[in-house]
Symmetry: D2
Subunit: 249 residues, 4 copies
């Protein structure tokens, strides 16, 4: 099968991770805001609702990249409870997360899921929790690798302050394998300042989940984080500043 066309991802990227915090009508409301804010700030927004909400979110938005939270490397056929690539695509998803720290996958399943996703035209954002894992994943041809130091996930400690070495090594190892892969870094992003700090390390994007969803005003927080992403990205693009940007634009 020749691979279907999947969306071309363009840095800077910001992932809004819904997990199981928000669903249904509230997820759609947040998605519309994310869609608008992404356009305003010139940031590519990846938004990943519960699977049951993908179709509604996709219908309600224009530029938002609707991703599944997980996908299984299964063919059409058996597989009760699995998430079928073709079904995601038809429902309006344009990509999928893989190997998130709350949904680890075997190496073989990550490899096959990337292949299956690309076959049906879904982009892939694969999580790693060490620079060497980011390099391992880069060998499998994903669109984005998101490296998160596991000790910071779902905390609200500023990731940027603690992880310069972690991020720089992730970027270096992945770029050596394939400079087209966008390297993102997350974990512990709770404020716009956290975004600024992590973006300054040279990544192509970042993201937040509880930092947005547990904020007093999630839409305002999302707006402030997207503004910080855009601003930090522009700074990094100044001559001599850039590190990992993924595909040339």
């Amino acid at each position: 099968m020749s691979a279907a066309r999947r969306p071309r991802l363009r840095a800077p990227v910001f992932e809004v991770g819904l997990k199981g915090y928000v669903y249904g009508a509230e997820a759609v409301r947040l998605a519309r805001a994310a869609d608008r804010l992404g356009r305003e700030h010139g940031v590519t927004v990846i938004f990943d609702p519960q699977a049951v909400d993908i179709a509604a979110v996709a219908r309600a938005t224009v530029d938002l990249l609707v991703f599944a939270q997980h996908m299984d490397p299964v063919p059409v056929g058996r597989g009760v409870g699995s998430v079928l690539p073709e079904a995601l695509r038809e429902a309006g998803a344009v990509g999928t997360l893989l190997n998130h720290s709350e949904r680890r996958m075997t190496l073989g399943d990550i490899s096959r899921a990337i292949t299956r996703a690309h076959e049906v035209g879904l982009a892939t954002l694969v999580f790693a929790d060490a620079p060497e894992e980011a390099a391992a994943i880069a060998q499998l041809g994903p669109d984005i690798v998101l490296a998160e130091p596991p000790e910071l996930i779902a905390t609200s400690r500023s990731a940027g302050a603690e992880m310069r070495g972690f991020v720089e090594r992730s970027i270096e190892l992945v770029r050596r394998i394939d400079p087209e892969i966008i390297v993102m870094c997350g974990a512990g992003i709770a404020t716009p300042d956290d975004v600024t700090q992590v973006m300054a390390l040279g990544v192509g994007g970042t993201g937040s989940s509880s930092g947005i969803l547990k904020a007093a005003d999630p839409v305002a927080m999302m707006g402030a984080m997207l503004a910080a992403t855009s601003h930090a990205w522009t700074e990094m693009q100044a001559p001599g500043a850039a590190l990992s940007r993924g595909p040339k634009q």
Copy 2:
């Protein structure tokens, strides 16, 4: 929390298991047909599409019981890639399968998932592959236990012919624990005759997946199987014939 109201299930029940065979517009088309055929034959139809298709199937149908293929016993909050009970309910599902042979769960997760499902108003159909497992599950308070001899799953050998002892023992053990639980039996149901044979063993319902979805005309096959279910059920209700019927009607 006081438990939300969940649908009261009434035998005979027939489960149309979509697995990953059919999705999107084709799943909706099949759902509409199942909805109509269930009414025509007086059979309760459980229909379980891919999670991404639940909302569309629920909107397109009236009496069909739309079930998820799997649900996780998670609370609102973290859990990337999990299937959140509240999200299923808001999308229009009225129940969920649990512990299917293609998606086995730990004992603790089955127990907690039944509790969580009932909290939010979702009915539960739990799979077992031995009479003793059916009894173990019955201790956890599900609405339906579906016992399948594993050697027959996804074959097309007539289940009814080979499993009288298996089914009768499942019914007896479950009824002793809670006669309100409906006992179903599946595995290997490929023709209307298979339906007739397994229903004659005294179960409250049966189901099919590849038997319908790989048939030359799935809707026609579904109609013939539902007719067989209805007919066999009526026969069993004759004085002195009945075994497991679940809740009194």
Copy 3:
């Protein structure tokens, strides 16, 4: 196959859970002490080292019941990395833990593992974390069910003080299904007083892991806990006191 003879378990029982705290020569030294102390106090001691240490522990002891920490329901043949029942038996194990909170199993695997264990002459101690799960497990025919409230596992809060209802309900549900099954209760046993309190709830035994292994003097702590077990058991056997004792003696 007719089932091989497995050890007849006699209450009171105390489980010394080695987990990965202690191994090799140190595990053998502790096993010898446990063997001697069990005899001195008239308590059946279940001792479960790392699989690699089972043979050495079995050779070094006389009355100690050497259990595996886990066993897989596999037949002789394939299964890289699995723990084969026949291999455990030949190495000197007389039983196995199943479904510990750090090694959860699917319902089907628990069921098949109990069957396989009994086929080769291994006793089974199966963990549950709710009274209903204990009842579910009782349907599968284990020798012992050990119920642990998950919020207390590996804490040092006295289990006895917080869990009267939990334990009494577990005993009642299991006894109704099969009074020969011994009901144990653990979790959070850190001192001899904890042992006394939980035994007073009527269980047939208890156990400890980090409470012993992280004590300043593990052998002294084990001795004091076994003394408390023996004493509490004798108290409970006074006319009118008893609850769950497993097989009549």
Copy 4:
């Protein structure tokens, strides 16, 4: 912690995979034969019994490299049913298999297990089922990568005949990342001819499980396969022939 010394592996290597076919006294008998035959033919033999048999096999042999079938990336402490690196080492193992097709691991666990193994002085043989997976694993620093086309595992079709491209690509990708890593290839090795064919593709070793253990005379089959390994290796070492040999000797 500075890493403990682990055995230096020298090609050609032959892995005798015991799985759950053979255990106890029979495993020890086979180990003694493998130890002697390895010396006779100048082949490094990796022998992986059930965990309970590791100590006995290590005591009974001299040059044989006794590997565990699986190891968990856990620290000393909790982890019921896990295989602790330190316990393996003290029992006499000098290495471990990881990620076998019958015991898949998450990417993160493979990465952490390699690190933990090397910390305690255990060598690592990691399985892959595609050339890209072999490359991903190579990023994590194992001693050996063994690539197996999954469609051939546990068959008796000659691997060599069907998989030239698969093997050559695995060797090329791994060598580019780290030429010190030995690349092996297995799956479907049922006869000495199969050994010859797969070794001729340039790998540093191969192995067999059911091909030996289900042979009429396992020791004779092992001898013939080791002879074939040695002979093929010598041929490949002729000027201009070599591909992947692992560490220079």
